[in-house]
Symmetry: C2
Subunit: 240 residues, 2 copies
Amino acid sequence: MANPTAAMLVIGDEILSGRTRDANMHYLAGELTSHGIDLKEVRIVSDDADAIVDAVRALAKGYAQVFTSGGIGPTHDDITADCIAEAFARPIDIRADARALLEAHYARTGLELNAARLRMARIPEGATLIENPVSTAPGFTLENVHVMAGVPSVFRAMVASVVPTLTGGAPLLSQSLSVMRGEGEIAGLLGVLAQDFADLSIGCYPFQKDGAFGANVVVRGANGARVDAAVTRLADELGL
Amino acid sequence: MANPTAAMLVIGDEILSGRTRDANMHYLAGELTSHGIDLKEVRIVSDDADAIVDAVRALAKGYAQVFTSGGIGPTHDDITADCIAEAFARPIDIRADARALLEAHYARTGLELNAARLRMARIPEGATLIENPVSTAPGFTLENVHVMAGVPSVFRAMVASVVPTLTGGAPLLSQSLSVMRGEGEIAGLLGVLAQDFADLSIGCYPFQKDGAFGANVVVRGANGARVDAAVTRLADELGL
């Protein structure tokens, strides 16, 4: 049976302008792979309401689970929660339990729960809160969309709350073989291998090292014995 | 006048599985920003023909320029050129000038131009070749889509050939201010600033350092004097 599918939506101008390098995608990709959920698509859009709403609708329809990162803080450019509400045509307002979390947090830290911070308690109707053990302001799940913070430490904590609750499939196993030959030299062999092991995914990722071309061949699949068999045959045929 | 827009499509299972961290997006984002082209969206899809064709069509329609990375090598999972041809309903075949480039390259290096390598001369009808000074196999431009390699050194060389030929806008200037206060504390001020400087983009990117919360405020715009004015006022109001 095929594994459940997922998509990710990264929200933020700072990544599209080249100012920041996204760290959350790589992390989520690894966590989903271990849990047997196949990340099939990632989109990165700017802090633009139409772009966010369109992407949320398309991804929520196309994949079993959707994870968003970014845009749920207190500032004027944090519009993700409102966009999710719009995408699902739900009302949004400050919610009592989210507000209580923030009140307790700011009382503890001696900071003021001002109007800007209170925006972080705006939650679309019908959503479930996602715990934030790092800085309290919660994420939320609405339908199949999990809305999480962009700050990497908070994002990771939220992923740790959400992913174990989802139905996973067979974790994808992988083995790789580094070959110091050009991709073009082993491409024919890999094509035959891909046909003979149609239940596996065989990828070839070229690299350059000290001016010579090499390739990492990665064999992935749910059945460890088959992955072993394919890698062993590849090594045999290459005389490694 | 608004700057021209662009989107990027990254093709490759290895990024979605968490095996590899994409390096090309961050590079392209920086190059486009300096050239006055606004990168508005990035999509990452797997080596799946339908996913690639759908994404190419959507992005080519939505943005002035589209850049793809990955899937143009010699192996069975390199299907980008065929997908681009399909997206634009163009025939695709081995093209004489691309074949001649490969023949000369492999004659020089003493390697065989086998059937797998010859696939890299498959170019959709009507495309223009993009030079590859690193490993010869060319990229190509079809309509507003620039099809480039995934290997970072080759990708960068192709970006260097293509981007200077495109019409850019005013390069985006930016200044940033690092503030050791929680985002929620400065959010109100930033909201007022965003209204008073509606021609600029004002972003706030929270971070954690030694357990304390801070924020980088980034002010971007085409007019340097306005960017200066906004940052100066922000610093004044914060007493920095």
